[in-house]
Symmetry: C2
Subunit: 211 residues, 2 copies
DNA sequence: GTGTGTGAAAGTATTCACAGCC
DNA sequence: GGCTGTGAATACTTTCACACAC
């Protein structure tokens, strides 16, 4: 997984939690709260205060002893930690129901993710607007990637197409992929790859449901 | 998290991996492979052989030394481990693009998950078929849950509605929830709760992309 | 007094390495 | 010889507990 030296030392488990802290802080900020303690935040997100303090300590000292954290300040720091002080260009490959649902998700742009293109193999949908401008033919993928810097490719194709599509975006230099297709994609190239997988989620529930 | 005594000792990280092993095994089975070693399976799913052997060892001895694993046998054992030798009743709450995408996912029924109902608050979609028969009004949720044993509630509502909906299904006795709404849901009741969160996934990519 | 920041301790998870069986 | 199953070793993560700052 490509990452810089500073970030090599951050526990992998910490990173997704930072985004949860950020979301909760934005929520309490909108309710007018200006200061929050690690205990209050922990109660909100369902963890323990030491976890939060330890997670934050990897990045710096953001709190005031005896007081807690300034909400505005902590939001700004977390955004910096997460690389959200800039924008990232995103494409979605697969303009079916799932791809369209993701394209229409409004929180997307709000955090600096710019959806700049959407691709599909089905000639019936090419040119239609599925939430990200006209859907482009998948055959134009490499041409598009040459002319546009894409940071994240979200894959929502059928599973049969997903691995090939991922190989193509990685070969074209896209540095990260978020795969929703129900395959466990792999890549020999050093790409940042994350998988979201309904089938695994359901089976995990099944495991814990089974008595 | 509700689970029986046998399962208390299984590492939480093992469970999702079992489902990945199962999927990959089903794939190689369909290609006619009858025997597989932990090394071959590890190469396929991108992990290491010891991890697979250790994961399996929590449940029993399924392999043959010097040979490997019989694919058919291991698939059967994994299904048993994961509680997939029975069917589970599922409802989807929220019949937007995402809920519809999930309802149309075909791998769903194939692994024993029966989608028996779909709910929405919008009177314009009630009665329409979004992949799971006629969409029911959310006001009928409790009545439905009284008359039908539901094991898993998948929540794809807007975030403003999600926590309330989750509280309602949990109060009505649904033992597990898979939440796709961009909130970190919590529950005081002992419910099995899993979250799938686009925003967290994107921010995690952002973290590793940021140099 | 209150709550952060952080070493140290405890708890989990992964990987190693080899005895034992095919 | 080859590959599993597993205790031991290593690595990682969370939690504790307290010095220190406000």
């Amino acid at each position: 997984m490509a990452q810089n030296s500073k970030k090599l030392s951050i526990p992998a488990a910490t990173v997704p939690r930072l985004s949860q802290y950020l979301r909760k802080l934005q929520e309490v900020q909108s309710r007018g709260v200006t200061t929050i303690s690690s205990r209050q935040l922990a109660d909100e997100v369902g963890t323990n205060p030491a976890q939060i303090r330890k997670d934050l300590s990897y990045f710096g000292e953001f709190g005031i002893r005896g007081v807690g954290y300034d909400v505005d300040r902590l939001i700004a720091e977390l955004k910096k930690c997460l690389g959200l002080n800039r924008s990232w260009n995103v494409i979605i490959i697969g303009s079916g129901k799932l791809g369209t649902a993701l394209a229409l998700y409004r929180g997307f742009q709000r955090q600096g993710f710019n959806l700049i293109g959407m691709f599909d193999a089905d000639s019936n949908v090419i040119g239609k607007d599925r939430g990200a401008g006209a859907v482009l033919p998948i055959t134009d993928l490499e041409k598009f990637l040459t002319g546009n810097e894409v940071h994240i490719a979200i894959v929502t194709t059928p599973s049969a197409a997903a691995q090939t599509v991922i190989d193509r975006v990685v070969a074209a230099g896209v540095p990260s992929v978020l795969n929703f297709a129900p395959i466990r994609a792999t890549s020999s190239e050093p790409v940042i790859l994350r998988q979201v997988d309904l089938s695994t989620e359901l089976m995990t529930l099944s495991f814990y449901l089974d008595k």
